[in-house]
């Protein structure tokens, strides 16, 4: 027990280091960016000398670099990520208000991808048949197709031709269907391959043989006994999964004109709203640092032998 506490403390300290590191890199990058941040903040118009100086002072750009870095870290500790140039709101508020639509989208996409991939894997694992070939080809297609193109195709067909779903935005459930499906398609191929490999390995295990010997049907063996073991590799993938969902959200929210973290990230980068970009980077780094700890913790729970491996 003591070792687990120590392990956790060590990992949390490392996570804090990672987040501060990411923030420092982002802060440094902000300083290296060519162009005057005061001008970016004021927009296109040329400000008068007095207004310029006042804004410069308000933003703290008249202070020397170490002082500003100190202030930046101090603000970070208080959860203050600065002020967005474009939206003229605190970055923390912007991110807070945009987080939920993205989480909704990500959860819906994950759920959909998981169910479809599990169905594909359970029906095709260990079977050399035409059906499996078709499934493999479909997986390759899904992995190789850019998500934004799928989104455009779905929009063309379902929204513009059939008028089944709204063309843009909306908080409605109908508005969630196409974006979630688009995001899911990129995941299904990978999920199905990982699950099938896991299933095939599980089906060779003695416990499957004994289940069959008890007269358990093939479907029940696969669903009740083997699938559970096939899910462990999915835990390993969780970092990649969250990454794909977050990265995919940038594109998919833009295509479907949905509210969310991805879309404000895209507009912030295009408009060089650097405090907002930094804020998103810090939040993303925090999510990943915590996720990695959670995954390793989960491993230790699933398989105590991992204590030796996962330091």
């Amino acid at each position: 027990m003591r070792s687990t506490t120590w392990w956790l403390a060590r990992r949390l300290a490392l996570a804090v280091l990672v987040v501060v590191g990411a923030a420092t890199v982002a802060f440094g990058a902000l300083q290296l960016v060519p162009g005057d941040p005061v001008h970016v903040m004021m927009g296109g118009a040329a400000p008068s000398e007095e207004v310029y100086e006042r804004t410069r002072h308000e933003l703290g750009y008249d202070q020397p670099l170490p002082v500003r870095y100190g202030e930046f870290l101090g603000q970070l500790l208080r959860g203050d990520l600065g002020q967005s140039y474009q939206l003229h709101q605190p970055v923390a508020d912007v991110i807070g208000s945009q987080l939920w639509p993205t989480v909704q989208l990500a959860l819906a996409a994950f759920g959909l991808a998981f169910v479809v991939a599990a169905a594909l894997a359970v029906t095709t694992a260990g079977r050399r048949s035409g059906w499996r070939r078709v499934a493999s080809a479909a997986e390759l297609l899904m992995i190789s197709t850019p998500g934004f193109w799928v989104g455009v195709l779905l929009l063309t067909f379902f929204s513009f031709r059939l008028h089944l779903f709204p063309v843009a935005g909306g908080d409605s459930l109908a508005g969630l269907v196409l974006p979630a499906a688009t995001l899911a398609i990129g995941l299904i191929g990978v999920f199905a391959q990982v699950m099938r490999e896991g299933l095939e390995r599980a089906l060779e295990q003695p416990f499957v043989l004994s289940a069959r010997a008890r007269g358990t049907g093939e479907t029940a063996v696969r669903l009740r006994h083997a699938l559970r073991h096939a899910l462990i590799p999915m835990v390993t993938l969780s970092g990649w999964i969250v990454g794909s969902l977050l990265g995919g959200a940038v594109l998919i929210e833009t295509i479907f004109s949905r509210e969310g973290l991805g879309r404000i990230t895209a507009t912030a980068i295009a408009g060089r709203d650097l405090p907002l970009v930094t804020g998103v980077a810090v939040v993303a780094a925090t999510i990943f640092a915590l996720l990695n700890i959670a995954v390793d913790l989960l491993y230790r729970v699933i398989d105590p032998r991992m204590k030796e491996v996962v330091r």
């Binding site: 992995i143 190789s144 455009v152 063309t156 969250v242 990454g243 977050l246 980068i269 780094a285």
Partner: protein
């Protein structure tokens, strides 16, 4: 591991399947389009003909025309250059950086290894596209910057692989023999470690060209790639999206070009991977 051993023992030399052959032909065709687009498309990709705007596919315009009346087929063919440039360029950057970091980690002692690999871990856990977006945010949008951004964001994967390969090969008999016969450090690294780590590395590189092409077209879909008149698949798609109600062709063909390219590269890459797997341990498996 058992699977790898079985595969290499059982099959021996594999024949080239029809799917792989077609894919290799397609890759060659796309490379041709990138190098000499004029051979495949006669029309000027930037010649606007407003009278013929937003036409569907026809004998004169195979893939139809865009909102300015430019020939979409010609723009798709000419767009291969930018996409392949980003894909190959980014992979090249990732390969170089990855070799450098991986070799340093494998050969410069525990402390350097620990520091470099922890940083690599952090970068690997971060979504690639988000990392690339951050780099573009700093450098500003352009196709060169998109290439650099994607290259930087895929370097950690290569670093991991190179380190693993180098560590495994270092213990191999022939390297020990070379050391016994008095080969210097530099000679061992350059003549023995690097060439032997190269095969799995080049296969990974080929597969990552496909991923980099998707990443590149994603960035330019978001308006963070090459400047406007340049024919590029991602930005053509983004423009096409605005005219979906009038013409489907504009958005469908550039996307098809990306997908076909990436599938062809992936099929060839996977086939090579299967051929070379099992020769010696590859870090990731």
């Amino acid at each position: 591991m058992a699977g790898v051993a079985r595969r290499s023992a059982g099959r021996g030399r594999r024949r080239i399947g029809p799917g792989v052959a077609v894919s290799a032909l397609l890759v060659a065709l796309i490379a041709l389009a990138a190098l000499w687009p004029g051979l495949l498309a006669r029309a000027d990709p930037n010649a606007a003909e407003p009278v013929d705007a937003l036409l569907g596919p026809s004998g004169a315009h195979w893939f139809g025309t865009d909102q300015l009346g430019r020939d979409v087929y010609s723009r798709v063919v000419h767009g291969a250059r930018v996409s392949l440039f980003i894909g190959v360029g980014a992979t090249g950057i990732a390969l170089l950086l990855g070799c450098l970091i991986g070799m340093l980690a494998a050969t410069c002692g525990r402390l350097v290894d620990e520091i470099l690999m922890r940083i690599t871990d952090v970068l690997l856990s971060f979504p690639g596209l988000l990392l690339a977006l951050l780099v573009v945010a700093m450098l500003g949008p352009s196709s060169t910057n998109a290439t650099i951004a994607i290259g930087l964001s895929s370097a950690p994967g290569f670093a991991r692989l190179v380190r693993g390969e180098a560590l495994a090969i270092r213990e191999a008999g022939y390297v020990r023999t070379a050391v016994t016969f008095g080969a210097g450090r530099a000679r061992v690294y350059l003549r023995h470690l690097l060439p032997n780590a190269l095969t799995p590395l080049l296969v990974l590189a080929l597969l990552s060209v496909g991923a980099a092409i998707i990443a590149g077209s994603s960035l330019s879909y978001l308006g963070l790639g090459p400047r406007v008149p340049t024919a590029e698949w991602g930005s053509m798609l983004a423009q096409g999206k605005d005219f979906l109600t009038i013409s489907w062709a504009m958005a469908v063909f550039p996307g098809l070009a990306i997908t076909v390219t990436v599938i062809a590269i992936n099929i060839v890459g996977r086939d090579l991977q299967r051929r070379f797997e099992g020769r010696h341990p590859v870090g990731r498996f």
